[in-house]
Symmetry: D2
């Protein structure tokens, strides 16, 4: 829908806009209102270049898109009936809980093994464990490939499927070769389209699940969904969307919690939403409340940091990780709320 | 705590800073670190002018405050044991629910009377009804003093205590004279200190409860609490803090929901928190989830818009108001969650 | 323009929407596109209630407005040719500079008298001086009515027109009775519609100029312009729009500088833009750069804090106020840039 | 500096904190104030894990850092005297202007050749040309390696040094092998630490200049500078910092312009600042004002999109690109302002 700055396009302007849209297989349909005439684009309006060219004209106020830019991620696409299963949980049927350490300590593998057992006991369905870590400070510990073996050993000991964040193609292939069950793309790489494409290509056949974190900035929702479309367009629809807080932070938290975006995502896409309360708030004592809020908003799952001895952890664990006891109580309450909220409907 | 830009103050600089703090009854204590010396302010550091003068010096990097600026609102003040009661509900003991119309329609008083009965039936403890309305557009309906009589009549018919937003001193005195049980300060007036002082003065003796909405901007939490201190400083501690979403909006909502601020408020102040999910999200279908999230975060109450026939309402009601059925179900679930979440603690 | 969630409205939905718009004198015109049908509102679409009622329908995705909500402030209104003059400066013909103290010190009137002479000497066209001050902390100095006499005396001594911020009706009438030449509405009262109406009414005949600061939050531009429409709708078009930074602050400034909003304002309204760099950045050393940036963006004027002895000032002066020397150099450069930038045009 | 929640640490708490800091070679020094005791960390406080562990303690309110986390980028490091030269321009001595197309059209290389000649004529010092493009929509044109040859040919024809954005290691090595003179890291990859490390390693010996764009989110300034530290830590100090607007956008621009961050950057780091006004505002007609504002704030350079026929461009060019005439006039004014603003100082 094209809105000119004046009340209608002059014939010369109309000819110019028409000359822009026709090479893209589109046409224009004027809509004559009482005061103002606007112009519908008839045809597939999704080409960014066509839109950009119209927006570039001095006499155009704005161009409103009417079609969704996401073919496959759209709630009305054929993929809407696709179901994703991780371990024993089918998303949407019960609440998925992924729990584990922010960062695996390669010198103390027992912490992860004990944490793995403890989170399983507490009710978690999958184990997270950071092998490589994005760090603001270049001189901080950046992770160690040895941790990948520790992670897989934790899987063998507990049977829990495991999740690892990858930040580049090298890590991606190491993680896939090791056999991780879920790949994670972090908030800092949420718009790293080269990585998203590399992942899409690499998991096209294996159908490995990808957990895609929301970027740190308050971009439009369609940008988040489009990032997932990059992966899915290669043929693997096993994508989970993960809000984890945005910047600037709410005064006192690590980020501005954004679990409230869940219903907005679900209006536009069929993809399950798994909220990360740990990074949203950034401090263990706030995590249980945020986890419950995510379930209140309709999240399909939670991704929570936990550690058998948080103060001995590395990475963000000393601040963010829940003890197994608190994790267990949080999962118990979250599952009760999951059951409770099912019938809430507005006519 | 004063941090100079260089590793320490020169003797001349130290003398200059000392000359600033002494008239305010304070002194300086150098803290000699390995690389850098910083300077503690010894004494009552709360005077803004003293801080501003130090911050104005070219060689000062920043001044970090250590004391809370809120004497009375502080969680450690004597008021911390104060309990606020509205109608039959003592805040903190059970979940308070205020419900009712955004804007009373002075031509159709029956809508409010029916809504009042319906929200009481649905489990609400108090009735809200907008008499005057802040409107972006100066040509929109701005409210009608006749609606005040309608509101009081609704109180008489149902026994529910009633709440009205006031935007200036004239409205304040009309509302108090009519006998409303709770005054509301809207988000647009959250930093209108003249109004806050006028209210503080007017309710000092009557002890009328004041519901103070959070401002539309993402200011620091202390600014919100200080606004309440304006009222409380006149002698009436019956203040409720009301997050209701901030700008810029999350893409698709009316505002950016901010119920997550609740635990941060509770760390700093004893005042109860009553969340308004209706303005946070701005659309009826999203309100129940937001209400539950508020309870998940520890809110002491909810302020929800409801209407017996939302589509016939004026103001924001056609978009935001819940039907009595949805309100009832939301209250039921919120109260269950209130009970459920009590024992969640982190060591 | 009404966009349904599905590809077109059902006959029953179409009838429901029609029944909503008809009482407002409007009709619907379907616009049949290749995939989707949307619906233009034919008639005056500015009534908020009509729009709200349509937005309240479950099957509507959104309603896009096509008409400007500002009748009088609109760049295409008859007022577009109105010129505003303060002292010897006609806005738009030369750069207006308002300078002076944040807060007048009632115990030391000579500071203002000396500052008034100094800013005149430095090239300023008008004098600002805070009589009453909005303060976050209720226990801080809130201003003193005696300062109003000091301000008017400074006017008599220098001939400079004077500007005072008012925060309520009492202050408004005191200031007008004293004879101030310009009223200022602060950022915290930018959406205080009761005050805006009171000012509009009070200055309708006197035609006193009103400087309206932008609110602290990042609301849409139309909200800012609508606030001015409140005043102008009473008959006085002498309104100046004043960006002064928004929250959250850029890391290290008092606010997030927003002089860049100037071209956006000028596309929508004829009202002159006077930027306040002092509150935007909050520290004297950053103010000259911000002032120049405002002129680069096309500002018609600047409102700058200055003091003959900043460190002796009260309010924000010790941090924000320029010395007369720096003010003079800033004005000189700003006026050179004003001349320089005139011919920059994009075809 | 450690601030406990209570007025002082208990002996047991003090022992616990001491046990945390000692393995990192640090100690604690209590600073006894009138009401409250706080604790200085004596030693190198830069280890994130040590800080995280202290922050993880329940009785700690916050830990304030006193040392800069950036060893090499710090304004006080030995690198502060390093000068960066691109083509004939030494940063800091005259205004650097990089200009050219958002995206090279591989089917129409003449557009770039003509644009290269035109921007050189208009006064630009270097040529930009997008070879690969980050695109929100996975189905949009993503760039073509053939454009790299076109870019180098434009260099040979004009002698202008050329700049190309790279998004992954493959592109990085292709660009370096082709001989580009400057690499660009885009806003979406601003926190892609794997890419930053790969670049740092690849340019350690060649000393290729890297233009690092600021991320889309409003993160703290230190995060931006730390991203540059990643590159510089490998041994090449030729890094330029490039603000280019952040999200959420100012209502009507592509982003929220952030050239105002320049003075804040210059307080913390020695690295030159080159502002991109084209992405900040996103529309050609707003670009010249934003470019001047950047110079007003002290930018050392500008990176501007230009095209001989903007409407025929691909990528963002139809909206953002200046014509050579407008570019020339903008450069002329920017250079005049650069000269004008030199003596503005605040005492």
């Amino acid at each position: 829908m094209i809105l000119p700055k004046s009340n209608r396009l002059t014939p010369a302007q109309l000819a110019e806009v028409t000359a822009i849209v026709e090479p893209f297989g589109c046409g224009l349909q004027p809509i004559v209102g009482a005061v103002r005439t606007i112009y519908a684009i008839v045809g597939d309006e999704r080409d960014e270049l066509m839109i950009t060219r119209i927006e570039g004209l001095d006499y155009i106020e704005r161009v409103d898109r009417i079609q969704s830019p996401h073919k496959l991620m759209d709630r009305r696409s054929d993929l809407a009936s696709h179901r994703i299963t991780l371990g024993s949980v089918t998303l949407g049927e019960e609440l998925l809980v992924i729990a584990g350490q922010c960062t695996i300590d390669p010198k103390n593998p027992n912490f992860l093994y004990e944490t793995a057992h403890a989170v399983k006991e507490a009710g978690a369905n999958a184990l997270r464990g950071g092998v490589w870590k994005p760090r603001t400070n270049p001189y901080s510990f950046q992770g160690d490939v040895k941790s990948l073996d520790i992670l897989m050993e934790a899987h063998r000991r507990t049977g829990l499927p495991v999740d690892a964040e990858v930040m580049d193609e090298t890590q991606l292939h190491l993680a896939l070769d090791a056999g991780v069950h879920m790949l994670q793309v972090g908030a800092r790489n949420a718009l790293n389209y080269s990585l998203l494409r590399a992942i899409g290509r690499a998991v096209a056949d294996r159908k490995t699940i990808v957990l895609l974190k929301r970027g740190l900035h308050m971009g439009p929702i369609s940008e988040f969904i489009s990032a997932a479309e990059y992966i899915v367009s290669f043929g693997n629809p096993n994508v989970l969307l993960c809000p984890r807080g945005t910047a600037p932070a709410l005064d006192g938290y690590r980020n501005h919690p954004d679990e409230s975006i869940t219903p907005l995502l679900k209006e536009k896409t069929w993809a399950p939403v798994v909220v990360d309360p740990s990074h949203s708030v950034g401090k263990a004592s706030y995590v249980p409340a945020c986890a419950l809020a995510a379930v209140a908003y309709g999240a399909d799952g939670l991704c929570i940091e936990a550690h058998v001895q948080p103060s001995k952890g590395i990475g963000d664990d000393p601040k963010q990780a829940l003890t197994p006891e608190v994790l267990g109580e949080t999962i118990r309450q979250a599952r009760q709320l999951w059951t409770l909220r099912q019938p809430v409907k507005t006519s």
